[in-house]
């Protein structure tokens, strides 16, 4: 196991966040967080390549902050201080800049959550019209005792064609009925692909090329 894959060190704050909370002072003995020098910040090659690829797509490299953070999160499990330092070093921005972004958006994790599963149930217009509130309620109910399964409502996930729908660890499934909630939870716990027959990615399409895009 390389140093990069080693377990994260114990988080510093009670809630495990990389940022002090409202009630926390800074640690005045630390060095201030300027842009980490590439000479002293080790970044896994593939992560670096991925971040650089994202940067190359925008005229201003800062625009790549979100995809770069997501890439580091996939690697580290969450936006840990080390993950943010690595992104900052490649992007040549301060870790503070990235921390403000990582804490702003919902899909960046600020705490370590080992073996954690996200179920985002869409409750926006199309899905609501087709019964999303009941689907959401069902999920809340069946997952109420599962502390590793995190259910929350979400705004339009851009898959209205399979409304009402949910995103399970990034996999889009739908249309859903309230009784599907139990199946989804069982699938997650068993480590099976969720609702295989109703995954957006497995739907037949006229143009197979489009699937890859």
């Amino acid at each position: 196991m390389s140093a990069f894959e080693a377990e994260q060190s114990v988080p510093r704050f009670a809630h495990g966040s990389r940022v002090p909370g409202w009630d926390d002072a800074v640690d005045v003995n630390k060095d201030p967080a300027s842009i980490p020098d590439p000479a002293t910040t080790a970044v896994p090659d593939d992560l670096r390549a991925e971040i650089e690829e994202h940067m190359s797509r925008y005229p201003d490299r800062r625009s790549a902050a979100i995809p770069a953070l997501r890439a580091a999160q996939r690697r580290h499990g969450w936006c840990s201080p080390q993950a943010i330092d690595q992104v900052a070093s490649v992007m040549r921005v301060t870790p503070g800049y990235l921390a403000s972004i990582a804490t702003f958006y919902d899909m960046t994790e600020n705490e370590p959550r080992p073996d954690h599963h996200d179920v985002f149930v869409c409750t926006n217009i199309s899905c609501s019209l087709l019964g999303a509130p009941d689907v959401f309620a069902a999920f809340q109910e069946v997952a109420s005792d599962e502390d590793r399964i995190h259910v929350r409502s979400f705004e339009c996930l851009g898959a209205c064609d399979i409304a009402p729908m949910a995103s399970v660890d990034g996999v889009y499934v739908g249309p859903l009925e309230p009784r599907d909630a139990q199946t989804v939870v069982d699938d997650i716990k068993a480590g099976r692909p969720v609702l295989e027959d109703r995954q957006l990615a497995r739907r037949p399409v006229a143009d197979e090329e489009a699937r890859g895009a």
Partner: protein, 820 residues
């Protein structure tokens, strides 16, 4: 980009016709009609308005909704109402809203009495609130850094502090975390917000959320007085206001002068006032007796000093530096030249160009102002690090790039903190500034770039690119350069090369020119007052004498017998520390004006006069761009401290000079009479903002004819490393005795560090944090390694702290770096 032309438009505010500059924001336009519109988030110095707080809502006829006056530009014929019922209600609502979670802290809040939130609540608030729910409560105050405390309950999320960190200081350390109602001001991973300009957020915060840990609970606004003066801790000479309570300085705040500091201060300027009242401070005259310095009476100290100097008549050297005023420099010159028949005096650390060339460099027509830096088409930062050498100029350069599209080019040995903002950065070997300029000159004149660039250890293609950019960016080019460029044995040649470059770029015009950063706070003023070998007041002709390095050698060799040190300790600040130690040890008498006993004085001074702090001083100093500024005493002198102009005059009188000086103002008058281009100035003219002498008629007294490019000598090649490393030294912003004795700042005191490139570090088997010995010819210093990827291979940069000047000399040299 050149300054935009301002056109005035007419609008109506509250029924009155008002003339205001076109495109100014309504908040500012309204001031022209004496109408105040309340604001929180609006601060024009922070750049374009953000409209975050909604405090400034006003009614504009023709627009159905209320408008934020901070982000609505004035237009010709606009009709604005700020006093209608609709506006009043909206403003009341905003105040009510801002106060929902704001604690009722005023009685225990450090901002109370000088708080915009209090003022606006009284002036525009409703006086009551409909909210009866409990407020949010958090632990407070918390440390945001060793210098700044944060109280998150009081924060109104106006974004000023984070905008400052991002857009002015550009350190991007202070950010808003989380979102919406959960937002709060913080940093990454609980790191402290420590940066050279971080303290400005204290003044920017419109509430008591950010407070100075050094000032908290020391005074209330009604206990204090503000006294305007000048910060003389570095050449930037920012305009400041001392907060004084019971004859003690408790705080330093900015006194916005757009021609000097733009309203910002660095943290050294903001917190080093503590040195004024430090225990380490010398407050009585002292004389060395039996090996130790002991306090004595003024009579005795003055007599001993005068006697020792008189004994060494004809064999006395003198140095001046630090915050010595023009008057003191002038009196020192008269003491040496007239009373003691000596010509060996210097205010520079290394020999500079000849008097003629130096005059050409300081010709008024070739001088650029600080605002010129902001509005130039292009700025070349040459052989200096503004962040360390003249911090506030760093902010001005950033502002030029960010707000006015100025093109920045950097040519330095050490990687610059301005590199990320630069269109081109060129690296040359430490000490090879002359060769770089020769290459640039060749590139501008279409000559042979390669050989000079080779001698400089610079990339010829990058030099060509830099030259192209300077040529094509536009007419207004400002060159910001550091004194070290023309210091040392080849200073004359470097200065000529610089003048060639100026001539080729045609910099003798308004809005363009040179801005030199001298190596001491009043370097320019001391030179103009005549503290130079071979140049008297106003660069007049004077008998030639030894420069600083020559004085050291002559003392060590016994040709000079005594040394007068006006606010400087060469053992600490001058190159060749070992030579200086030997020189001071050999001298029969070392007479020093000092506020702290630094190493050289502690060991070798024979008479020490307690120096005034800058808060006690009166007199004038000259800013690097020629602005003569006035120091005003804010507090009385502690203990037995006497005015230094008076001490100099007393010594001079005892040594036989006939000089009558009833007051400090009389000394200023003598100075203004002695320096031809200061002629006609008076303390009254200097008022609060100072006067730039190059803009006055008397400036013609120094005018030099336009420089015609000359044939340059072939510059010597930088030594090739061959396994060793080229030594570059630099003085970090925190390397100052004031920082070391200020309790709040002590944690920042410069540490002995050496910066290496990753390749060299690997070759030497060193990692960041390793302890090493950096040596040359058997002399060495201990340092801690910092590996930086932007350091060019083959160079090592040593922070000038804790004796690092043992290794530096006026000339480029190679060093060995070995694990300690």
């Amino acid at each position: 980009m050149p300054r935009p032309e301002v056109r005035m438009v007419t609008l109506t505010i509250d029924g009155r016709e008002v003339e205001a500059p076109e495109n100014s924001m309504l908040v500012d336009g309204a001031k022209h009609g004496d109408v105040e519109i309340p604001v929180f988030c609006y601060e024009p110095k922070l750049g374009p308005p953000v409209g975050a707080c909604r405090m400034c809502l006003v009614e504009v006829e023709g627009i159905p909704k209320l408008q934020t006056a901070c982000s609505t530009p004035v237009k010709d014929g606009m009709v604005v109402h700020t006093q209608t019922e609709r506006v009043r209600k909206a403003q009341e609502a905003v105040v009510e809203f801002l106060l929902i979670n704001h604690p009722l802290d005023c009685p225990v809040c450090d901002k109370g009495g000088e708080c915009p939130l209090q003022d606006i609540s009284y002036g525009w608030g409703g006086g009551t609130s409909r909210f009866i729910e409990p407020k949010r409560h958090f632990r407070k105050p918390l440390a945001l850094s060793p210098l700044v405390a944060i109280d998150r309950e009081r924060c109104i999320l106006c974004y000023r502090c984070v905008r400052y960190s991002q857009e002015i200081a550009e350190d991007y350390q202070l950010v808003l975390l989380e979102r919406g109602a959960h937002s709060y001001v913080g940093t990454f991973d609980s790191t402290p917000y420590v940066a050279p300009f971080a303290g400005n957020i204290i003044e920017l915060c419109p509430v008591g959320a950010l407070t100075s840990r050094a000032y908290r609970f020391r005074a209330r606004p009604w206990d204090i007085e503000a006294a305007g003066s000048i910060c003389t801790l570095c050449p930037a000479q920012c305009n400041i206001s001392f907060t004084v309570r019971d004859d003690r300085v408790l705080r330093v705040m900015a006194r916005d002068n757009p021609d000097v500091d733009d309203g910002w201060l660095c943290d050294k300027g903001r917190f080093a006032y503590q040195a004024v009242h430090a225990d380490e401070r010398v407050v009585e005259p002292m004389v060395r007796e039996g090996g130790t310095l002991r306090p004595v009476s003024w009579e005795r100290a003055l007599d001993e000093a005068a006697a020792a100097l008189s004994r060494a008549r004809g064999r006395v050297g003198a140095l001046a530096g630090d915050g010595a005023t023009n008057e003191e420099g002038y009196l020192l010159g008269r003491l040496l030249r007239e009373a003691l028949d000596c010509n060996d005096l210097d205010s520079r650390v290394a020999r500079g160009p000849s008097r003629e060339t130096a005059r050409a460099l300081s010709a008024p027509a070739l001088g650029a102002t600080v605002p010129d830096v902001e509005f130039a088409h292009a700025v070349l930062v040459l052989d200096c690090e503004p962040m360390d050498d003249m911090p506030i100029l760093d902010l001005r350069i950033r502002k030029g790039v960010r707000r006015h599209g100025m093109r920045l080019v950097v040519a330095t040995s050490r990687p610059s903190s301005l590199d990320p903002n630069a269109a081109v950065s060129v690296r040359f070997a430490p000490g090879a500034g002359e060769a770089f300029l020769a290459a640039l000159d060749a590139a501008l004149a279409g000559g042979d770039v390669d050989s000079a660039a080779g001698a400089a250890g610079a990339d010829p293609a990058a030099v060509r690119e830099l030259a192209r950019l300077l040529r094509e960016a536009g007419d207004d080019v400002v060159v910001v350069w550091g004194e070290r460029l023309t210091g040392g044995p080849r200073g004359e040649q470097a200065a000529r090369a610089l003048l060639n470059v100026c001539a080729r770029l045609n910099l003798r015009r308004d809005g363009a020119g040179l801005l030199e950063i001298p190596s001491s706070a009043n370097g320019r003023g001391l030179r103009e007052a005549g503290v130079l070998p071979g140049a008297g007041p106003g660069w007049s002709e004077a008998a030639d004498g030894r420069d600083a390095a020559g004085i050291a050698r002559a003392l060590a060799g016994g040709e000079l017998g005594a040394l007068y040190l006006l606010r400087t300790d060469p053992v600490r600040t001058h190159p060749d520390r070992t030579v200086w130690s030997a020189a001071l040890a050999r001298a029969n008498a070392v007479i020093a004006h000092a506020s702290v006993l630094t190493e050289g004085l502690l060991e070798h001074a024979t008479v020490v006069f307690p120096a005034e702090s800058y808060a006690e001083k009166e007199g004038t100093v000259t800013h690097p761009d020629g602005r003569v500024q006035r120091l005003r005493p804010a507090i009385g002198r502690p203990g037995g401290v006497r005015a230094e102009w008076q001490v100099l005059a007393d010594v001079a009188r005892r040594a036989g000079l006939e000089i009558a000086l009833p007051t400090g103002a009389a000394a200023t008058k003598l100075l203004f009479e002695a320096v031809p281009f200061y002629a006609g100035l008076s303390l009254v003219d200097l008022a609060a903002d100072g006067v730039r002498w190059p803009e006055r008629d008397a400036a013609s007294a120094l005018d030099a004819p336009a420089w015609e490019p000359v044939e340059l000598e072939r510059p010597p090649a930088a030594p090739s490393p061959n396994g060793a490393l080229r030594l570059g030294t630099f003085r970090p912003i925190w390397a100052a005795p004031e920082v070391e004795v200020s309790p709040a700042l002590r944690f920042l005191s410069a540490r002995a560090r050496v910066e290496l490139s990753p390749g060299d570090a690997r070759r030497l088997g060193l990692a960041s944090g390793a302890r090493v010995h950096v040596s040359h010819d058997g002399t060495g210093v201990a340092a801690e390694v910092v590996v930086r990827s932007d350091v060019p291979a083959g160079s090592a940069f040593l922070h000038e702290a804790q004796g690092a000047n043992a290794l530096s000399s006026g000339e480029p040299r190679l060093v060995e770096v070995r694990p300690a």
